[in-house]
Amino acid sequence: MDEEQVVKFVETYLKKKGFKQAELAFHEEVQKNSNANSIKIHSDPDLSNLILSLSKSGDDPGQYHEEYGKLRTWTFNSLDLYKHELLRVLYPVFIHCYMDLVAKGHIQDARAFFNTFREDHEMLHARDLQKLEGVLSPSHIQLFFRRWNLLILLGRAKSTSRCVRSLISNFLSNYQYSHELLMQHLRKTKSTTVLGIVNERINFQVSPGQPGSISDDAEVVTLIGTSQDAANKINKKEVHWGLLEDTLEDRLEKAGGLQSDTEKPEGETKDGEIDDNKKRLAEGGKQGTSVKKSKKDKPTGGSAKARAETIVVPAAPRVKPELPLPVMPAEVEQSILEDLRNRVQLSSTSLPSVSMYTFINTHNSLNCSSISNDGSLVAGGFSDSSLKVWDMAKLGQQASSSTPQAEIDASVEHIQGPNGSKRSYTLLQGHSGPVYSATFSPLSDFILSSSADTTVRLWSTKLNANLVCYKGHNYPVWDVQFSPFGHYFASASHDRTARIWSMDRIQPLRIMAGHLSDVDCVQWHANCNYIATGSSDKTVRLWDVQSGECVRIFIGHRSMILSLAMSPDGRYMASGDEDGTIMMWDLSSGRCVSPLMGHNSCVWTLAFSCEGSLMASGSADSTVKLWDVTSSTKGTTKTDEGKTGNTTGKLRSLKTLPTKSTPVYSLKFSRRNLLFAAGVLSKNV
């Protein structure tokens, strides 16, 4: 390459960038040194061509089209061994090309480019493409990333679109050879624009070795806000997923195992709650008869259950609660123990009974429903800001006899409607916007509801009145959930935060910020030390309640997360999304155990059975599906001690229960493993 060429490059470059003074200075410099051949440059013809094309490549919009097309055909024709890896590069390159075109103002070309190649990505990224399609002017790009966070968070970078886009780096792990292949190809075909994109904005994690199989890296393409490294780092933090010490199940087991009247020994002292202990001892005296009774039917039920539990329970390590937990009243505890004794053991061969609550005449205004632990109370949140609570026990009474009802009506005026006609439900009014979520406290004495009016309200089911209004969120509160032990609750909102509250404070205790879009659902871990949140940014995060830190990011969903459930042994979490995919996650490793395909519409609700062997899912496609959990977890509990999850097991769909055009809004397993389902009869589904 001779000197003249170099001078030309530099000139064109300076001209292009508009550095006039520098250009003049350069000219002078060149004229001065005209006879001295002092400039040494590389003599690689390839490189010179490359530089030449670089200096030429200006605002030619056709170039993007052409080069991307070339890359695409090359990728599709590549060897199968490398193909799926190379294919992964296409999507980010596609997005960047489109954004570049838009940013440079070639709107028409951008559209043409988009429409030509969108089909390739339609299957995996349909929703993103829909959002992206609307971006039609440079100013939109900035807006787009501030609002939608399609690809990744760019939260803090707002200055210019250029700056914003430079942050869009995509994280792809590629194996060395595939990566080299790609680079070689790009250089050979002189696809400078694409090469620029790949070099500048796409961040490869090149790892040596053979290309992986297609299946094991489904999550890699997902784009997240923080870098993949950060996500990996977060996922390396330790999660104590074990159950709390001394749970009721343990007590039951002990009672069953010891078979003695002095059944409240060692374990109690750990609590250090002497009051509680005393109470229980007194209770123990009273309950002497019932204990004897229960001994009689032990051979039939109790021992078998205890045995079954010994299979499941020891797998879970024990942890201490990090929150001061409320004390459970003794009589409640007794009733729970009674429930546990009578629990039906579920497995793939013995499926649960399902009781279906169907809302009728809601005129499309029911937004959510919730079922109390024992299934006797059902709450519905309506878009007319009201919360209605049905007492199923009373509903039965009304049907059988109407006269004694008058006395009850007199005591509870809420049942009486304004015009004297009887209502079958308790009407709770207080919100000023659609109610999006409701949850019962574990003892069914409180209800929490969240609404578009940005508040969460606490209602008493005994007084039928509003007790507290929790203000804190700035946007609609999508979801609220009581903790498994009551007193604490978590809320999720459009303001991209999840918050932890306690019933006795009107300010939140913790604010979990980090999601890149709306937090759509929230769920407590069985041991109360963690909460999980699902978001429109297609990730699920696990947060430490005590520290407020994010301890896990689960990447893999392809659309908005709608429902979450935690397994009772605390080890697994299930999440359901808008497309009907359910994913089962291992909390300790942060990996997906297995994706469950089956539903073809939104999964509104998920529930684990009490001993964790089955999972139920309810969907907008008007079905309840039962899934076998043990088939996948068996391998892990045997090898145990397990950070090394045996992820080969696939969850089986055991049964599909279709409803009569009733999308299933909520599911709940009672303590005795009866499954309750609730939904709205809708004619036009």
Binding site: H140, P352, F359, S383, M392, W478, H494, D518, V685
Partner: protein
């Protein structure tokens, strides 16, 4: 470029009182309008999802607008679906038909019925994993009848051939369907591969026994009616053959009905109405069929074979019968075994040859067709007699 055309922007501008909007401005606004629209709809989708719906409503759009601190669009919350009307004179302009309502009418109108209040009903969706068949549950899916290969096609056309089935006992729907399909295939498309599968099905499937009388009746009717139709006859004989092969069918009860039809196909004067029809082949096929029937059921019905041979020998020795009939008789007799050939054919060979010889000679028999037939018969005789004479067991 943008899905919102420039003209729309101009119309909107006019409607809010901006009459002098330049076309450049409209062009620049169009993509932005599209972007904002998409944004609002995306936000509405969130609201829709949290209301547990799968269709977007005006409320959702209002909610999205509120989130953006934009005044909601009032007046679209209730009522039926909005209908757009095309503006007269404009190709791409639509508007919502918004009628003027007289206040008086509204006030004087009787109050509408109060909508029913929301309520909750309870039922068992499943008991121990099994769905009870109650009206509240979705109807159980009907188990599809076991398909016979791919014989069944979804089309459900009626048979053109009117078969009056004297249905005295209940025939299941599946069997009726099966019968209809088989008969249709036999009548219409006996050359299709589907028919071959049907034959296999007939020969192997169990549970066809209730259909046997119908099949026999069908064959009887069709043979008597369709002697002109060579392919039909052949198809019918194949059906018979398949039925005979089926081990699950006790066909001997119906032999008395079946035999006449089969023998007809062997010794009928004319089978098919075209020269091209290879009725010789049909006769050969039927001959074997008859022989197999006699072999299989001969010990049950003593007089079965004697009656068959009697019929055949009568046909053979009757000089008035045509040569084709003679051929069928010869083949039928030959198929019954060397014993029959020796006893009946060889003994009658001499008088019969005398009868046949004139027809074979060119100068005596002018009819080319007749001569051909005669040679055919001669060939059959020759082959069979030679075979019998060479049989070491008998000679």
């Amino acid at each position: 470029m943008s899905i919102v055309p420039k003209e729309t922007i101009e119309v909107i501008a006019q409607s809010i009182g901006i009459s002098n909007l330049s076309s450049d401005a409209a062009l620049a606004l169009a993509p932005d309008v599209e972007y904002r629209l998409r944004e609002i709809i995306q936000e509405s989708i969130k609201s829709m999802r949290h209301s547990r719906r799968t269709t977007i409503t005006a409320d959702d759009v209002d909610a999205a607008l509120t989130l953006r601190n934009v005044e909601p669009v009032y007046g679209f919350a209730s009522g039926g679906p909005l209908r757009f009307k095309r503006a007269i004179g404009h190709k791409d302009l639509f508007y919502i038909d918004d009628k003027d309502v007289d206040f008086k009418d509204v006030i004087e109108a009787p109050l509408p019925k109060a909508p029913l209040d929301a309520s909750l009903v309870c039922h068992w969706l499943a008991i121990d994993g099994v769905q009870p068949a109650i009206p509240e549950n979705a109807p159980l899916q009907v188990i599809a009848p076991p398909s016979e290969g791919k014989n069944f096609e979804p089309k459900n056309e009626l048979l053109p051939v009117d078969i009056k089935l004297p249905v005295k006992h209940v025939l299941s729907r599946e069997l009726q369907l099966y019968f209809d399909k088989i008969t249709e295939l036999t009548l219409r498309r006996s050359d299709s591969p589907l028919f071959k599968q049907a034959l296999v099905s007939l020969a192997t499937d169990s549970g066809l026994h209730p259909l046997v009388p119908y099949f026999i009746c069908f064959i009887k009717d069709e043979v008597s009616r369709g002697l002109q139709d060579f392919s039909l006859l052949f198809a019918l004989m194949r059906v018979v053959s398949s039925l005979l092969q089926n081990r699950h069918i006790n066909i001997q009860l119906y032999l008395h009905d079946l035999m006449p039809s089969v023998v007809t196909c062997l010794v009928a004067r004319r089978l098919g109405n075209r020269l091209a029809d290879n009725h010789w082949e049909l006769r050969n096929y039927t001959a074997n069929l008859v022989a197999s029937i006699c072999k299989r059921f001969g010990h049950v019905y003593n007089e079965l074979q004697t009656r068959v041979t009697k019929t055949l020998i009568n046909a053979l020795l009757d000089p008035k019968k045509s040569l084709t009939q003679h051929y069928g008789a010869i083949q039928g007799l030959a198929a019954l075994g060397s014993n029959v050939v020796r006893l009946l054919l060889l003994s009658n060979l001499e008088p019969y040859m005398r009868l046949l010889e004139p027809d074979m000679l060119l100068e005596k028999q002018k009819n080319e067709m007749k001569r051909h037939e005669a040679w055919r018969v001669y060939g059959a005789l020759l082959v069979n007699c030679l075979l019998t004479m060479n049989d070491p067991v008998l000679c």
